[in-house]
Structures are given as C-alpha cells and as structure tokens.
Symmetry: C2
Subunit: 339 residues, 2 copies
C-alpha cells in the first residue's frame, strides 16, 4: 500500500510509539487483554493493556501473555484512582515497558518520575486545557486528547474544542494523539493534518474478530445509532457521578431511578450523603463485565463512543487497520489536489 | 488579504449564500437582531435574524430595519415549534428573502415548498444522520450540521461524528455548513478541507462590539472555561427536557432542583404529568432575555457553546472575520506545504 503522505505526517507518532502505524487501540477494561492487544501490535499498530482494577498478579500475567504473543511494543494503561494502582505502577515499572499511560486523574509528579526512571515514556490524558498544561509542566512525554464523544469514562469537553485549545497550541512541543469520535481513515487524515501525531480508537476495535467481547455486545454496537451512546448524567452535586458514555439500556434507566430515589431519601434525612454516594458507586460495579464478558446487554454497561453509529461489521484487526490507512492516504491525496 | 486557497475551497458556499465570506452568524434569540445581522452582512459574511417566538409584526419590523442597514443578503431563522411559526413563515415568504433557515424540528414538506416557491433557498439543521437523509429527500438546498458542543438548543451528537456520518457522505450532493465548536480560523480551514462549504459560529459573534447583548453577558463569556458550558440534563423520561447548552449558574442549579421536586410530586401523585411538564417548560421562559438583555447572569440563561473557553476579548465584527480569514488562509498554506 502506498502511504507516502501518511509516512510524512505521522513520522513523529511512529517514532514515539516505535510502530509502523501510530494508531492506538484505547485501553478498554475487560476488552483490552492479551489477545486483542497482541493482534493490534502484530498488525503494526499500538495497544495498551487495560489495568482497570485487576488483581496485581493478573496484570503481571497479562503482560507475560502479551509478550508471548507479540514481539512488538505495547503499553499498560494505569487508572490512578484504582485501589490497586500503586501495585500496577510497580509491575509496569518492573516489566520495563516502553510506554506507560496514566489515566483517571492527573498522575502525581513522583509517579511520572518513577515511570520515566524505568525507561518508559509517559503518556497521559488531557480532558481539559488546564490539565494539558499541568501535564506538560510535569514532564509528560505525550498527550492523549480525548473528547467527550468517546466511550467509557469521559471528560466534559468535545474533541473539536480540545483540538483548538490544546492540539493547535502544543503539537510542536510534544506528540499529541487524539481520541474520541474517530471511526474513519478520512477523519484520521484530517487530524494528522491538524497536527496530531496519531490517533486512538476504542469502539472500532471492539468490532474486530480478535476482540474477546461477547457477541451480544458486538451485536448491540451494530444496531446502535450515535445518539444511543449517552453520557451518564449527574442529577445533583450532592451525589457526584463520574460520567461514562454507554449505550442506553435498562441499566442506564435504572441508574437514573436510583439517583432519584437516593436524592429523595437524602432530602427526607432517611440516609446520609456517604451511604448515598456508596450506592451510586456500587451500582455499576461488575456491570461492564456483565455486558462485555457475559453478554448481558440489558443490565450491563455497554460502554461505547458515539462512533458506534458508524460501525456495522466485525472484521479482523488487520483489515480494520488497512481500511483506515488506505482511506487516510486517499483523503490526503484528495486534499493535496484540492489545495 | 491574499485568500487564494480559501477562495477555491469555499467557492460553492460563497455562491450559495451570495456573500464574500461563507461564514454564518448563527441565529441567537434576542442577540441576532438588525444591528448584529447587518454588521455581519456588511462585513461580507452572512447572518440570520432569530425569529424565536417574537410577535409577527416585530419580525416584519426586524426585516425592514435590517434592510435599512444593509443591502447584502440575509436570512431568517424560523423555529418550527414556536407558536408564531406559521406567521413567521408567511412574513419571510412575503419579504422574498434569499434564504430561509428552518430550525426546531424537521420542517413539513409543504412548508419547504412554500419557502422555495417564494424564490428562497432553504437550509435546515441536521443534528443526526437520519434527519439529514430526510431533509435531503424533502429537497432542502443546504444543510447545517450542528454538533452538541454548540450553544443554545443542541442535538445529541458531536460534530466529529456528524462530519463522518453526513459531511463526508453528502457534501457532493448539497452545500453543507458545519456549526458547533468552531472558534478559530484554523478549525474553519480544516472543516473546508473536509468538504464543508462554510461554517456557522454563534458564541464568537456574541463577543463583538456590534452584538447588543448585555456587558455582563459578555463578561461571563470571557471568564468561562469550555467545561462551564453544560447541556441541561433530563432526569426522567416522564419529564422531557429539550437540551440547551448554557453556562452553569444559579439558574441551571435551580432547574435541577425543580426537576427533582416535580418528580417527587409526580411519584406521590401530588401533581399530574401535564402540570409537571408545564412547570419544566415555564422555568426558562424569559430566562435568555434576562441574561442577554437585562444582564442577570445569575438567574438568566447564559446560552453558550463550549468555544466559550476560547474567547476572551470583545472585538468589532470586521476584526473577528478578518482574523478568521487570515488564520484560515495561513493554515491552508501550512497544510499544503506539509503534504
């Protein structure tokens, strides 16, 4: 495949990740495990093992299994607010992974130093402008800008705005990868022209043969429109909800009812704030596993980006990447001719 | 100003709107009145009078006043669900305006025909893919794709996704203008490269000298971050809320409390659904006027897009447009050299 224009635009992303295609498969809990991660890396792209809150020895085993399946570089994606986070960081550092991704909250400066001291390059998520600036001050090596149209845990700002606030301003300073809402090679091409060093996709990688998510999960993705992937709303500042984008189903409805019930009980003094908050946090525990592994698409959490409206077939990882690359190169050629 | 590359890319948008710069000032109720509309048109761009639900004779007067201030083309933006909508359509048709914009819901086929029979070209908003297809079937002459990052009444899908679902697929068929989240000439340049015939901005035009919005309103925009412009959440399907993006303030908090109160009363049978819905709809009546005209930024509705995080000065309309055009042309040149 001729990729002359792409080669030029994404040289920096390639060099940074140490891969042929700077296309990242975003870390998805229960989904980004050795089979999918190694398939993506073997296809020439890049992926991260999703640590979620797995037991530390499971993470060590996942790293080992992935290494058994691929000789290519991959990363782990640490959730700074996970109870097992400290142990995860230790394992990633001991494993001498080439890249460590911090997600969740802003990582502490000593944790970033620790990761870098192991030889890893550090990437972190910037969901708003102020956090991007802070991460650059902390010496993060690359940023991932994820717009709120993404799936799973999301920030409050759309990609369009983040690209103008952060990508345009800081892309000369560090490699920046854009995430959220990307489902076509054309879009990828335009983001590279905007200055991105590469892109990160999640929803599209769910729709691959190598992804171990339950068939019901993939079928739900096929049927869904973009507007079906909704962010969980917070009803009251007394009950903070970390927004998650997932497909509407019985579970999301019940979560709404739960919040209303809890607020009613809070108002009447029947329960205290802490108890209410605990119930909110407990509601979704295990829900992603129920959907992605057990195939319960009614009550489980069908985390999905709005790009779910653009996917309607399941294909091999290699075909997905080839399609993206071919369409992107064609788009770059079209734009070059139009200018 | 040299605009060779822009001239080439936006020829179609120019011809369609009959203007020098196919940059549209989106219709903002209480804000898009004769002074701002005429200033935008006299600067070579395009604007629409926001009909909102003004008395029909006020609309006729607005059209007259705008014509007294500019010889350039402009449009009216009709809200299909406004009680005065039918009268507004009649006035627009009688005034023989060159373009009529339909907003709100999908316009009825006979209304589109009526508008076209008057000699007007018809534009309509496509907030999701299915509506875009329907509008094209109905013979709409151009589409406006507005992502959920926009201000005021918004759809459920982000711009990124709409561009892939609609712009990439249908831009050869009709001129498509993109709206929501656009605050820089660079972004405008990239949207033109994606196939847009032009762009529509709202929040940026609030921040002009010619905009008659209250100084408090503009000051609130200066201070706000992107994440402060939130969409009003719907708490329960029994109480539908048409989502509006506006800056968080006392009013948005109280709207949340109101929904909780009403749902509690609904559950206890204290009120019926119709009464509750009426209260929801009444809450914001007059709120935009309170904010934009009276300057009450605590209780009023500060409708704003997420681009509010990118604006920090008030400038003349001509300067705003010149900045956009200069930055866009520079970006096109940069991209052309990078390919």
């Amino acid at each position: 495949m001729n990729t002359t224009r792409l080669d030029h635009l994404w040289k920096r992303g390639r060099d940074f990740l140490g891969v042929h295609y700077p296309i990242m498969c975003g870390a998805m809990t229960w989904v980004s495990e050795p089979q999918l991660v190694s398939a993506v890396c073997n296809a020439g792209a890049f992926a991260s093992i999703a640590c979620g809150n797995m037991p530390p020895d499971a993470l060590a085993r996942h790293i080992e299994e992935t290494r058994a399946r691929t000789a290519k570089p991959f990363a782990v994606n640490l959730i700074t607010i996970a109870p097992n986070y400290d142990a995860h960081l230790d394992i990633a550092v001991q494993a001498r992974l080439p890249i460590i991704v911090f997600a969740g909250t802003i990582p502490k400066a000593p944790d970033i130093e620790k990761a870098k001291a192991s030889g890893a390059r550090v990437m972190a998520f910037a969901p708003v402008e102020a956090i991007a600036k802070r991460l650059l001050d902390y010496g993060v090596d690359a940023l991932i800008l994820e717009g709120m149209e993404a799936g799973g845990h999301i920030g409050p700002v759309a990609g369009t705005v983040l690209w103008q606030q952060i990508l345009f301003k800081f892309c000369d300073q560090v490699p920046i990868f854009t995430a959220g809402g990307i489902a076509t090679g054309k879009m990828m091409a335009h983001l590279l022209m905007m200055g991105a060093s590469g892109v990160q996709l999640g929803t599209l990688f769910v729709m691959t043969h190598e992804c171990t998510a339950h068939d019901n999960f993939k079928e739900a993705f096929k049927r869904a429109d973009a507007r079906d992937a909704i962010a969980s709303p917070q009803f009251d500042s007394r009950l903070p909800v970390i927004p998650v984008r997932a497909l509407k189903n019985k579970g999301t409805n019940e979560f709404g009812r739960l919040q209303l019930e809890l607020l009613k009980k809070l108002d009447s003094g029947e329960i205290d704030r802490e108890t209410a908050q605990l119930e909110v946090e407990r509601f979704w525990i295990g829900a992603l596993r129920r959907a992605a592994i057990d195939g319960d698409v009614d009550q489980g959490s069908l985390m999905a980006g709005q790009t779910v409206g653009l996917v309607d077939e399941v294909k091999p990882v290699t075909a997905l990447i080839e399609d993206l690359v071919r369409d992107a190169e064609a788009e770059l050629n079209r734009v070059a001719e139009s200018l």
